[in-house]
């Protein structure tokens, strides 16, 4: 099976200072990849390279040939702390911006209808006309998830969707993602290792380079062998215990 996305020998960074070096990764249909690693290790940089926001200094990010059109097959949920909450924009318009590259009249009209469907599915139809600044953290995440899904992506990329949300929404979110994952591939960045390992199928540890774990379980031996960044975040046994706890 040809992968949805193939990253080959990718070196990428800012101002000629590489954050990621010689990274290889393949993402297949219906993958659910959790990306973990220390702050500054390159999690967001990896996402930006996949999204085409950063040009590789070496190597390449390649989409499957049927996904190389004008419209990118990616839905992206950025870290909400980067959003200007005082911007004069309504929830409806935020979600509709997911259809940014539609340029036929019909597609645009359809997109508007789909905005309301998505808001209803996400249980936030009532905030349709509210300003973005009036929302709670959980509502924000739902709205931006709607935006990411509007273009019917083949790959959903989420950058720390569990910040600023309450436990109830976190549960709903992962339930929603599990459901979505029946059709599309998901890449999820988080620093909450415990949460991530109980929901994802595979794990990538990113710390200047990338170690791919083909399951959601990472053993202590593997960590030692890879010098995996989890050790750097956790300084001890606790997260590993959590990981092992989910082994069954």
């Amino acid at each position: 099976m040809e992968p949805l996305l193939k990253i080959e020998n990718l070196t990428v960074g800012y101002d000629k200072v590489p954050v990621l070096q010689h990274v290889n990764l393949e993402i297949f249909d219906r993958d659910f990849l959790g990306v973990i690693g220390p702050n500054g290790g390159g999690k967001t940089t990896l996402l930006k390279a996949i999204l085409g926001l950063l040009k590789p200094e070496e190597g390449q990010v390649l989409f499957r040939h049927d996904l190389r059109g004008r419209k990118k097959p990616i839905g992206y949920l950025p870290q909400v702390r980067h959003i200007d909450r005082k911007f004069p924009i309504t929830v409806f318009d935020v979600v509709l911006s997911g259809s940014i590259m539609e340029n036929t009249k019909r597609a645009k009209t359809e997109a508007k209808g789909r905005v309301d469907d998505l808001l209803r599915e996400m249980g936030v139809a009532d905030i349709r006309n509210k300003a973005i600044g009036e929302l709670s953290g959980g509502q924000m995440q739902r709205v931006f998830l709607c935006r990411a899904l509007l273009s019917d992506p083949k790959l959903l990329i989420l950058d720390e969707p569990d910040t600023f949300v309450d436990n109830r929404f976190e549960g709903e979110l992962y339930e929603k993602l599990r459901h979505l994952n029946e059709k599309i591939a998901i890449v999820l960045v988080s620093h909450d290792i415990g949460t991530i390992s109980s929901h994802v199928k595979t794990i990538a540890c990113v710390n200047n380079n990338l170690h791919y774990h083909p399951s959601n379980v990472i053993s202590q031996e593997q960590l030692n062998g890879y010098n995996c960044p989890i050790q750097i975040i956790s300084h001890g046994e606790i997260p590993h215990t959590i990981l092992k706890h989910h082994q069954h």
Binding site: L53, P88, I89, D93, S97, I100, G133, R147
Partner: protein, 269 residues
Amino acid sequence: MSAIIELFSYDFFQKALLAAVFASISCGIIGGYIVARRIVFISGGITHASFGGIGLAFFLGFNPLLGAVLFAVMSALGIQFFTKVAQIREDSSIAIWWSLGMALGIIFVFLTPGYTPNLMSYLFGNILTVTVAELWWMLLLNVVIISFFTFFFRNILYIAFDEEYAQTAGLPVAMFNYLTMILIALTVVLNIRVVGIILILSLLTIPQATANLFTKDFKRLLILSSVFAFIGTMAGMFISYFLNIPSGASIIFTLVIIFGGLKVIKSFL
């Protein structure tokens, strides 16, 4: 009341009225974009840099607005270039262009032989002396701005709100940024005669702040900003005429009073 009606029959006042309409629409829309995008101080830099062009025009003896356009567009692109390509911090880039333009303006005006009586009207504006040629240029600018914002409304909104997301979707973000920068530069320059270099930031920000009290919807904000800009400009013009005080300052003062009044009223509602 009859004095006001009489005023409308004067040629200079009719021109000022048209100038007020054009200035309100262009500043309302462009200002709404600037405020939403938080690039007020880029606009301040462009505005003040244009003074260099006015000085150069005085020195070499050509139309000062042409000189202003030249410097405004140059500084708009210059700020973008300094920030994006040369990796200079944005606020520093702005300050460099801002002060360079003002400095060049002062040098050129100083080197210009003889007295330059018009200088005050560029610094502080005088809506009552706007010429027919200037009105045509303002009309053209309004047509361009309204068309641009109508045809590309969604693209402009999405880029302004979340530039990174627009880029991931594949919009030509850089091109839009340069185009809107040029429109900002042109708006600033063509409205210099109305309120002047020193005061133009107010037409780009105060009506928008007032409009923002009543709507959080981008399209409505642009329209409402133009409306408040027009109300403030007209009221300021009357006050200026009847009290015989400078029009630019009186317009700004009126805009602030309207904003303050509505803000207070709204906080009690």
